[in-house]
């Protein structure tokens, strides 16, 4: 009864798993049926998430649609899910991109059943991590995501797929296992201080741990999330994983999995350990800005388009981190907005790269040139998506980057100025790539006879591009739903008791500007 209440999150989590179970019943030979099944269930999940969007009360910053069921009562572990303005759009982004990723997997030939099975399990894992409010539950979902992604890269990936898959798993686990100890420690301390045994994040928010304990716990959480983001210098797994993953894998990896890292900071690392987060802010801001510039410079030198896009992710997520760690409304808004933007534009870029790879079986920039003539639709879409990635006004990237820089400038003008050069560098490498791929004369005769995008491929890209434009010209409905939750999250950080000297300095600057 309860499970079918309108806007129910458990149902959202269940839909992909049910899809995976149905998939098992379809014969292996029936590839059309397998694809149709995966498509139907991911679309159902998307429709249900739209229903959640309508149920969502935009004026409230607190957790909504909360469901709470005891799981391991004696240990205080519960099944606890809920959604707020921060996770709402990330959930929507996930459900929106999954049918697209399935559609983009048409070129997968071998072992389609297993492939789609892992895609569906992956969706539940990601959605679960976005809505889990019990730290134990969150950790379970966080690790559950790893396994399907490991298989997607390792089985359906490129030539160095095994290396990339193992590297991906080991890097991610290295961080998350320490987070597990931190979770256990946090729950233990909470039980000691309040006599309540729980893993409920909302209750942990009220815990005021001494500064030195916060620092250790923050480090454990932050390492786990920083690897996922990836924050410089923990990014080295990313190019390998991206380049070797199949197209849909890259799309999901870039668009959603990386967001779990930044989401982890907003939801867990920062509000749970505010004093430590404030103290660590200068270091993280510095690493973010280094990542922005470093990612851009390395991207510029890449001969492979996919690698170029992968490094551009390092750069773009540096912006997100910068926005999140200046602790004011604009910065955080921009950071979260930019998560969506990066999901859309980088997702679309990987889709486009995949499409051209299916035709030419190469991703080397040198092998292209002059694609504008044989592939006008492809080139037009690539142009729009690239502009979105650069942050051209009128498209989504501009709103996010502008808000981040606005927020950051009030706190740390010097680092902000450095980060702004990243915007310029971004424009340089992206436009340079565009010039070498779609403009100029056709230097390779193979390119002359390429087929332009077909109906399916246009259908895949059209909604993404539509959203890119929508988020660019009309950000208000998105921002207004985020704002109450962000206000609440910031209040938790900035009302921290007795911060050390360096921290109060940062907090003062924000509050003296009125907080908004």
């Amino acid at each position: 009864m309860l499970a079918f209440a309108s806007g129910n999150l458990t149902l959202l989590l269940a839909v992909p798993v049910i899809g995976a179970a149905v998939l098992m019943l379809i014969p292996r030979r029936n590839t059309q049926g397998l694809f149709a099944c995966a498509l139907v269930f991911t679309s159902l999940a998307f429709l249900w998430s739209l229903n959640i969007l309508f149920q969502f009360d935009a004026t409230q910053g607190e957790m909504q649609l909360v469901e709470r069921v005891p799981w391991m009562r004696f240990y205080g572990i519960q099944y606890l899910v809920g959604i707020d303005g921060i996770s709402l759009f990330l959930v929507l982004l996930t459900t929106f991109l999954m049918p697209i990723a399935i559609l983009a997997s048409w070129s997968v030939q071998a072992r389609i059943k297993e492939y789609l099975f892992f895609m569906l399990v992956l969706e539940t894992g990601m959605l679960g991590a976005f809505v889990a409010l019990d730290l134990f539950l969150f950790y379970v979902f966080w690790e559950v995501m790893l396994v399907p992604m490991y298989f997607l890269i390792g089985v359906w990936g490129g030539t160095r797929r095994i290396y990339a898959a193992i590297k991906f798993v080991l890097y991610t686990m290295a961080g998350s296992l320490l987070m597990l100890v931190a979770i256990i420690y946090l729950a233990t301390r909470h039980a000691q201080l309040t006599q309540v045994l729980t893993f409920d994040v909302l209750q942990f928010y009220n815990l005021q741990l001494p500064f030195h304990e916060q620092v250790w716990l923050f480090l454990a959480f932050a390492l786990s999330f920083a690897i996922k983001v990836p924050l410089f210098p923990f990014h080295t797994w990313l190019p390998d994983a991206h380049v070797e993953a199949p197209t849909a894998g890259s799309v999901i990896l870039a668009a959603i999995l990386l967001k779990l890292g930044t989401y982890g900071f907003v939801r867990f690392a920062i509000p749970l350990f505010p004093a430590a987060a404030l103290a660590a802010a200068p270091i993280i801001i510095a690493l973010a800005v280094v990542g922005i510039i470093y990612g851009a410079l390395v991207a510029m030198m890449q001969p492979d388009i996919k690698k170029l896009v992968a490094y551009s992710s390092v750069s773009h997520l540096g912006f997100v981190m910068l926005g999140l760690f200046v602790f004011n409304l604009q910065g955080t808004q921009g950071g979260i907005y930019q998560m969506l933007n990066h999901g859309l534009s980088t997702g679309a870029l990987f889709l486009l790269v995949g499409m051209i790879y299916d035709r030419r079986h190469t991703r080397i920039i040198e092998d292209f040139g002059g694609l504008w003539k044989p592939l006008p639709i492809f080139s037009a879409l690539l142009l729009v998506v690239t502009f979105s990635s650069i942050g051209l006004p009128g498209l989504n990237g501009f709103v996010g980057e502008f808000l981040i820089l606005l927020g950051a400038f009030r706190v740390t003008p010097v680092w902000t100025a450095a980060a702004a050069t990243g915007v310029i560098l971004g424009a340089i490498y992206m436009l340079w790539m565009l010039r070498r791929v779609i403009f100029g004369p056709i230097s390779h005769s193979e390119n002359q006879t390429l087929q332009d995008l077909n109906g399916r491929e246009i259908l895949i890209l059209a909604p993404v591009v539509a959203l890119i434009v929508l988020l660019g010209i009309y950000p208000q409905p998105f921002l207004s739903r985020m704002t109450p939750s962000i206000d609440l999250a910031l209040k938790r950080v900035l009302t921290v008791q007795g911060p050390p000297a360096t921290v109060s300095h940062l907090a003062d600057r924000n509050t003296s500007h009125g907080g908004r």
């Binding site: 391991m72 240990y75 072992r111 297993e114 193992i166 686990m173 296992l177 256990i184 233990t188």
Partner: protein, 480 residues
């Protein structure tokens, strides 16, 4: 003392009688009909399992309380019976292919189970020793039962020598404790610990230390682990599974009851060495497992590493570490028994496939067995929501609760190391092309049952562990 209460003996006697019937019947059955023996053994084990359920909650003792019937003993009896049943299911085809005498094989598994049941129930050092020897002798023979295979004989020899060595330590330790306290009865020993020491305390301390070394031998803790890789590799694969699961559980059962519970005043003295031992066991086990070309040997080293995780629970002490220890042993039993069952299925008429290359490409040839193996590996590596994760979670939690956060950190870093080699099996099964090299799995329905049961347990204990956790808590705190 006049009327002997036989009820506490029921589970052990049940299995013992089954073993005797199996041995006798073996003489009268034709070669083709010997499959019956396996079913008879399973029936006996199932009856024993039913008895443990019916006797659940009793607090009873026999022979002047030297053999106890409490939830702790019953809990471990259930583990032993389950492990023995899974082993028998997985060996039905294996023993035929390896031309191992079926009657003796099943009877010995049952004898070993009897010994384990006595070990877990023993409240007296001599009774414990009887159980230990019953188990050990049976397992020595089981190790060498593949007589046409020279490695099997070598393993049996090695195991026997090393085991005899460990026995010597234990016996000497028991003698010293008897000398110091005047009793082998654990209740009397622990009572005499509370009184001011009259005899030289060195005897007692020496006895406890020797006992400790003997236990460390049996569970394969570093630096007493040297016998494990060769013995595990040489033994017939189902026997290896049985050893790494049930023998280890029996040793930990005795360790928990004798050292952790009854001799708990020595906990603080042993804490330092135990701490070092846990770290060395985990780390060395994992590091050596990394470099093994054979999956069977890898599993042998990984069982050393798992003994290290279990030692963490022992360090955490009775209050925090007891229930996680029991729970971890259950989770370890299901996932390891399953993994060895899959490994046993690689056996064909000529040779036993046990290298990574033998697994190549199996993911898509035998989807069910390979998927099960993948889940066992992920569970052993500690991925949620599988049994191995919940087990580790509660062990690490006990370490944090007991104030040993550093041990938890070392433990999780070790888990990370273990991910590397467990994933290699998955890499071989799913990501490498098999072609001619990959062996075809044996299509034994019994083995499938064993794998399916283990898989069920692995997933169940990972997703809904609440009942089993409660169960292990009640069992541990039933110790008086």
């Amino acid at each position: 003392m006049a009327d002997v209460n036989l009820l506490p003996l029921l589970p052990a006697t049940q299995v013992l009688l089954t073993a005797l019937v199996v041995m006798l019947l073996d003489l009268f059955l034709k070669e083709k009909e010997k499959g019956l023996l396996a079913w008879l053994s399973l029936l006996g084990l199932a009856l024993c399992g039913v008895e443990t359920v019916l006797l659940w909650g009793s607090q009873d003792g026999a022979f002047g309380d030297t053999l106890l019937l409490d939830n702790f003993a019953l809990f471990f009896t259930q583990i032993f019976v389950g492990a023995a049943a899974l082993t028998i299911l997985a060996s039905i085809h294996y023993v035929r292919d390896a031309k191992i005498y079926e009657g003796e094989f099943y009877a010995l598994i049952l004898f070993a189970t009897v010994g384990m049941i006595v070990m877990a129930a023993a409240n007296d050092l001599i009774v414990f020793f009887l159980g230990l020897e019953t188990m050990s002798v049976a397992v020595y023979v089981l190790t060498g039962m593949w007589r046409s295979n020279s490695r099997s004989s070598e393993a049996a020899m090695k195991y026997f020598l090393m085991g005899a060595f460990a026995t010597g330590f234990l016996l000497y330790g028991i003698a010293l404790i008897y000398g110091a306290t005047g009793s082998t009865h654990l209740s009397e020993i622990s009572a005499s610990l509370l009184e001011p020491m009259t005899e030289s305390p060195l005897y007692l301390a020496g006895g406890v230390l020797l006992l400790w070394v003997g236990f460390a031998f049996k569970v394969g803790a570093v630096p007493f682990h040297f016998w494990i890789p060769d013995v595990y590799e040489g033994a017939p694969t189902p026997v290896t599974g049985f050893m790494s699961v049930a023998v280890k559980a029996a040793a930990f059962a005795a360790w928990a009851r004798i050292l952790m519970h009854k001799l708990s005043p020595f906990d603080s003295d042993l804490a330092g060495p135990l701490w070092l031992m846990a770290i060395a066991t985990m780390t060395l086990g994992n590091l050596l497992a990394l470099s093994q070309p054979s999956v069977k040997r890898m599993l042998a080293y990984s069982s050393i590493a798992h003994a290290g995780y279990l030692l963490i629970a022992l360090i955490a002490g009775e209050e925090w570490g007891g229930p996680p220890l029991l729970f971890y042993l259950v989770t370890y039993t299901v996932m390891t028994a399953g993994a060895f069952a899959v490994l046993a299925s690689l056996m064909d008429e000529n040779s036993a496939g046990e290298n990574y290359s033998d697994f190549a490409g199996l993911g898509f040839k035998r989807p069910f067995l390979a998927a099960a193996m993948a889940l066992f590996m992920l569970s052993l590596a500690g991925f949620p929501p599988l049994a191995g994760f919940t087990g580790k979670f509660y062990i690490f939690r006990s370490a944090v609760l007991a104030g040993h956060t550093n041990l938890a950190v070392i433990g999780v870093l070790n888990s990370l190391l273990s991910v590397i080699y467990y994933l290699r099996v998955i890499v071989a099964m799913y990501m490498e092309e098999g072609g001619v090299k990959g062996k075809s799995f044996r299509q034994s329905p019994y083995l499938y049952i064993a794998v399916a049961l283990s898989l069920l347990g692995t997933v169940y204990l990972g997703v809904i562990p609440a009942k089993a956790l409660e169960w292990s808590r009640i069992s541990f705190f039933a110790l008086d």
